[in-house]
């Protein structure tokens, strides 16, 4: 069953075309990855889907209803979509727990005790209950990410949007994010994940779309997209990313990342992952 359907989405900004006719569907319980270089319009695309930005043309249908119409209840729509931002965007003046309860208290009008209980359950689901009373500044990047996900999940959204969930994390923590995505996928949470991180795009294990210059150039299973017959644009992007990755840090021989040799999705949980010491 189709949960979200996007047809021919267009957006211009100051005469520049940012989105140039994007179309795709997301089924109930599906995890879909949109991959593309920086500046290709990924964040903008996500923002158009919950009306944080209004596109100039096209159609978006979510849960059977037109999203872009004139009399859509914008705030009700947004409450159905969990959004996990690139830099987590946790509210810095609230504890992890308060970050999660905020929407429950003020949008669901839930009594404090009930909201706390529910929030603690979500934090436990992300293995963060021990840190419930810490402030964002006292959490590591990976921990913040988990709180941000718990915050999004607490409202029982129909779908989760991830904007570059690994870009602010180190490689070990990126692997943790992949594990979380797999956990949520196994729980049949619908997810749309946008990233320029090749590792994430491949390891997530969903269908992957390649967005470049506001257009989707290819869509397919991981292996097709990354295989020897890949779209030349993808190859070029791949090449560039790989060079950057190699320049940034030597890749361990145990985990080769190369276009010719697709990598397994699941990775072992690293014990020194997000539960470790907070970055300071």
């Amino acid at each position: 069953m189709t949960l979200l359907s996007v047809q021919d989405l267009k957006l211009e900004y100051d005469g520049r075309t940012i989105l140039d006719g994007v179309s795709f569907d997301l089924a109930q319980g599906e995890l879909k990855v949109i991959m593309g270089p920086s500046g290709s319009g990924k964040s903008t695309l996500l923002r158009c889907l919950n009306r944080l930005t209004m596109p100039n043309g096209g159609r978006v249908v979510f849960e059977g209803r037109d999203v872009l119409g004139p009399d859509v209840d914008e705030r009700a729509l947004r409450q159905r979509i969990g959004f996990v931002f690139q830099n987590f965007a946790l509210y810095r003046h609230l504890t992890a727990l308060q970050n999660v309860t905020l929407a429950l208290r003020h949008l669901r009008r839930m009594p404090a005790a009930e909201a706390d209980e529910r929030a603690l359950r979500q934090l436990a689901r992300m293995d963060m209950q021990a840190h419930a009373h810490k402030y964002p500044a006292q959490l590591s990047g990976g921990q913040k990410q988990r709180v941000a996900i718990a915050r999004a999940l607490a409202m029982d959204p129909a779908v989760l949007f991830f904007d570059e969930p690994t870009s602010a994390l180190d490689p070990l923590m990126s692997r943790e994010v992949v594990n979380i995505l797999h956990q949520l996928r196994d729980e049949r949470v619908s997810m749309l994940c946008v990233t320029h991180d090749l590792y994430l795009a491949r390891a997530a294990g969903g269908r992957v779309m390649f967005l470049d210059q506001g257009r989707i150039h290819a869509e397919g299973e991981v292996d097709e997209l990354f295989g020897p017959n890949a779209d030349p644009r993808i190859r070029a992007f791949f090449h560039q990313e790989l060079q950057q990755a190699q320049a940034a840090q030597p890749i361990s021989p145990a985990q080769p990342i190369s276009p010719a040799q697709p990598m397994d999705g699941a990775q072992p949980v690293d014990p020194s992952g997000p539960a470790g010491s907070p970055e300071r």
Binding site: L52, F83, N87, R92, L102
Partner: protein, 216 residues
């Protein structure tokens, strides 16, 4: 008359000095918050009007505005009680300065948090109340302390409209005893102690509501 006796004599006015300072500071916070919030939420023409308001009230001397309100308005048939006159002059001017402090503090609120709150489905007003104002007020503490200090330092103008504050007490005392140097030295010390109390108090309050990692 010993220095200690002078000090004791003057403390009769301390209550009024504190009352004027607190009343004008509160006026300033209310006006400043109102202006900063309206220019954050309102249309651009409204921000322009509010910008003109803050410019004008930061350009006119406190004493001049106080005289306009207290001695001038009766010409237009409007009689204003002394404390209200202080609030409408010193308080509103403090409000204009605080509006700038708050505007700057609002700009320190992370835009991505506001966006995340929007994406959550919170209304604009909820975002202001739940995210922006709680953070902004904490960022604004140093600026607020500066402004409250300024209010305290201009509060002696209250004597010109007949409020029996420390300054007024000192003037009558020096008229009868002719010991101006000791008296005004004592006044200076009293104001300095009130200032220290005020600064320590506000920082203590800040410390109690401090959030790790939010401010410096």
């Amino acid at each position: 008359m010993s220095f200690l006796q002078i000090l004791l004599q003057l403390t009769g006015g301390v209550g009024y000095t504190i009352m004027v300072t607190v009343a004008c500071s509160l006026t300033g916070v209310v006006v400043g918050l109102g202006v900063a919030m309206l220019s954050r939420l309102g249309a651009s023409w409204l921000s322009a009007v509010l910008g003109a308001f803050t410019f004008i009230f930061r350009a006119v001397p406190v004493l001049v505005l106080l005289f306009i309100v207290f001695f001038g308005l009766p010409n237009a048939g409007l009689r204003v009680p002394p404390l209200v006159a202080m609030m409408l002059s010193l308080g509103v001017i403090a409000g204009a300065y605080l509006a700038e402090v708050f505007r700057g503090a609002f700009d320190s609120v992370d835009a991505s948090e506001v966006l995340a709150a929007e994406a959550m489905g919170l209304s604009r007003f909820q975002i202001l109340r739940l995210i922006e104002i709680p953070q902004m007020l904490r960022f604004a503490v140093p600026g607020m302390i500066n402004e409250f200090t300024t209010v305290l330092k201009y509060s002696p103008f209250a004597y010109t409209v007949g409020i029996p504050d420390v300054m007024k007490e000192a003037m009558s005392l020096s008229a009868t005893t002719l010991r101006g140097v000791e008296i005004y030295l004592a006044v200076g010390i009293i104001y300095f102690l009130i200032y220290k109390l005020l600064v320590t108090g506000v920082w203590a309050l800040e410390k109690r509501t401090r959030i790790p990692g939010l401010t410096g």
